[in-house]
Symmetry: C2
Subunit: 152 residues, 2 copies
């Protein structure tokens, strides 16, 4: 067991700060994405669908997003209802449905990404470029250590 001085003061606890910082950024990004009819959840799913050219199984989507597969159903339903993605049957496995971004989906992604990046930058303006990179590196290692199978 190591030095456990973390958390003696709540506002200095890494977990507390992580939760608060995440909440602040999510809220700000949700507000920015509202104009585009998206939320962080659906926007993230749209991003993944766009970036995987051939489409992405809902199972892989769930794993990449850290969600339960049952949540992905509603998420894809919502995106499909908006015409941003479509479910295409896989030719190799008739159980899986590949989530593919439509042309409208790619267009929405482009404009939504600008809005998200703006909110993002506003929320992170406290940090310099180097510090942002530092933060990203540290968080990336934490996430990959806690969630071993992570594509990318």
């Amino acid at each position: 067991m190591e030095v456990l001085m973390d958390g003696t003061v709540l506002t200095d606890d890494v977990g507390y700060l992580l939760s608060r910082a995440s909440g602040l950024l999510v809220r700000a990004t949700n507000a920015a994405l509202a104009d585009h009819g998206l939320r962080v959840r659906s926007y993230s799913a749209l991003l993944l669908a766009c970036d995987s050219g051939d489409g992405m199984s809902q199972r892989d989507l769930a794993e990449a997003l850290g969600l339960d597969p049952s949540q992905v159903v509603l998420l894809v339903d919502e995106l499909a209802a908006a015409g941003l993605v479509e479910r295409r049957p896989s030719v190799t496995d008739r159980r899986t449905k590949l989530v593919c971004a439509t042309e409208a989906g790619h267009a929405a992604r482009a404009s939504a990404q600008r809005a998200a990046a703006a909110a993002h930058a506003a929320q992170l303006e406290e940090l310099s470029d180097d510090e942002r990179e530092q933060l990203r590196g540290l968080l990336g290692r934490l996430v990959r250590a806690g969630q071993p199978v992570l594509r990318g």
Copy 2:
């Protein structure tokens, strides 16, 4: 790949990593605190109640936790039902109720803190002490920048 734009790849997005890392830590800490009948929420509130000797108004609790005051009501109800805190009337303002930790509350805090710190350390073992400190500093600045009024 040397892409420097945030969000071009979802798994490199600071917001995504923040949300995932926070979720991982919260889940692990909740599991560790379950044996003590606490969750991260109630544990955090208990910490604040313990550390403010004279007690803490529910309004200040809400602000410190970043919650809506209405949520604090149920939170304190739960802790009070478990005998860990008690609501004492303020002598200077009869509207406010000061949340004070009982002796059982202080005891529970001590044992729960060990469990929480263990889960904490396990989840953060990927990082060195220096890096943890770095992370804490960066997150602290983010939170304080986004939530100007924050007291220790």
